[in-house]
């Protein structure tokens, strides 16, 4: 394509440009939602679903293991290496709980508080986004 051809096409193109219809901006302003756009920060969840899922999984696994072993070795046979490590870990945890009685209720309150706060945050943001 030669520069002359290009120039002809440009002139033709620019000559065919149209103006937006009358009342275009007025119509848009009337059609806008009645509240201001939400800031990006408000749209982000408090906890990413992956992080929330991971924390929940850890909580479930931890609770399951605590209930399963209950701080003692399984009855059948000597404990395997991983079981010993786990018992040791549970024993340390138990000692920490015994030395500080307020720790367990505190942890429970923190976990429940986090879950409630995350759920409330998602609910409110979903409502706000739904309205926008």
């Amino acid at each position: 394509m030669t520069p002359e051809e290009d120039e002809k096409l440009r002139q033709l193109w620019l000559g065919s440009q149209k103006e937006a219809p009358d009342g275009f901006s007025a119509f848009i302003m009337e059609s806008l939602p009645q509240h201001q756009p939400l800031p990006e920060a408000l749209k982000r969840p408090l906890l990413a679903p992956q992080v929330a899922g991971l924390l929940l999984a850890l909580l479930i696994v931890g609770s399951g293991l605590t209930i399963l072993f209950g701080g003692s070795a399984p009855a059948a046979g000597p404990p395997a290496g991983w079981q010993q490590l786990l018992l040791q870990w549970l024993g340390t945890g138990q000692q920490a709980l015994e030395s500080s009685p307020a720790l367990l209720p505190g942890l429970a309150a923190l976990s429940i508080g986090t879950i409630l706060l995350t759920a409330l945050d998602r609910l409110l943001k979903r409502m706000l986004l739904h309205r926008s």
Partner: protein, 186 residues
């Protein structure tokens, strides 16, 4: 007043300031939509929808990017989505016919311009919508190749090559249409 300042004002709770942004870009956005859709009513609807979507998403707009690029991308997505929907529901021939209709101003000067526009739109109708989009972006002079790639979703080099081919094809089609019209007039 710069785009960024206007956007900050809208975000700060002055939605009426958005009108200034609409008025600044309405012609460009409308023309972009029209050249892709080749239908005045569809183009108007697409442009309106694009501005409303942009307003709703203004909270997600990153200030280190250009509002015009962001706006054109939203308009492009809207126009291309409508073209695809239209392709499924109605033949493109109808759109071609509508694009070739005049607007009613019959003074000699405007008639010549109308005729030229009719030829151009008839030729455009024979191109793919992505090619029509690329040519439109080419003539939006403040848009760089990086922005064209960003708006069209194509690789920069591919967009450049395709843009050149599309213009060449348009010129050939246009020459053919004008020659045909001249022959018929004789």
């Amino acid at each position: 007043m710069t785009d960024k300042l206007l956007i900050r004002m809208v975000r700060a709770g002055k939605p009426e300031v958005y009108r200034a942004l609409v008025e600044r870009y309405q012609d460009m956005v409308y023309n972009l939509c029209f050249k892709v859709l080749l239908d005045e009513d569809e183009a108007k609807d697409a442009a309106q929808e694009a501005f409303i979507k942009a307003y709703q998403a203004l909270g997600t707009f990153r200030e280190d990017s250009k509002f015009s690029t962001w706006m054109y991308r939203i308009a492009t997505n809207e126009a291309l989505a409508r073209t695809r929907r239209k392709k499924r529901s109605a033949p493109l021939e109808e759109a071609r016919h509508m694009a070739s209709e005049g607007s009613g101003d019959n003074t000699p000067a405007s008639l010549q311009q109308e005729e030229r526009s009719r030829y151009l739109h008839a030729a455009l109708a024979q191109l793919e919508e992505t090619d029509r989009l690329l040519i439109s972006l080419y003539y939006l002079e403040e848009v760089s190749m990086d922005e064209v790639a960003d708006i069209s979703g194509l690789d920069k080099n591919l967009a450049k090559v395709r843009m050149h081919r599309a213009r060449k094809k348009l010129y050939t089609l246009l020459s053919g249409i004008v020659n045909q019209e001249a022959k018929e007039a004789l």
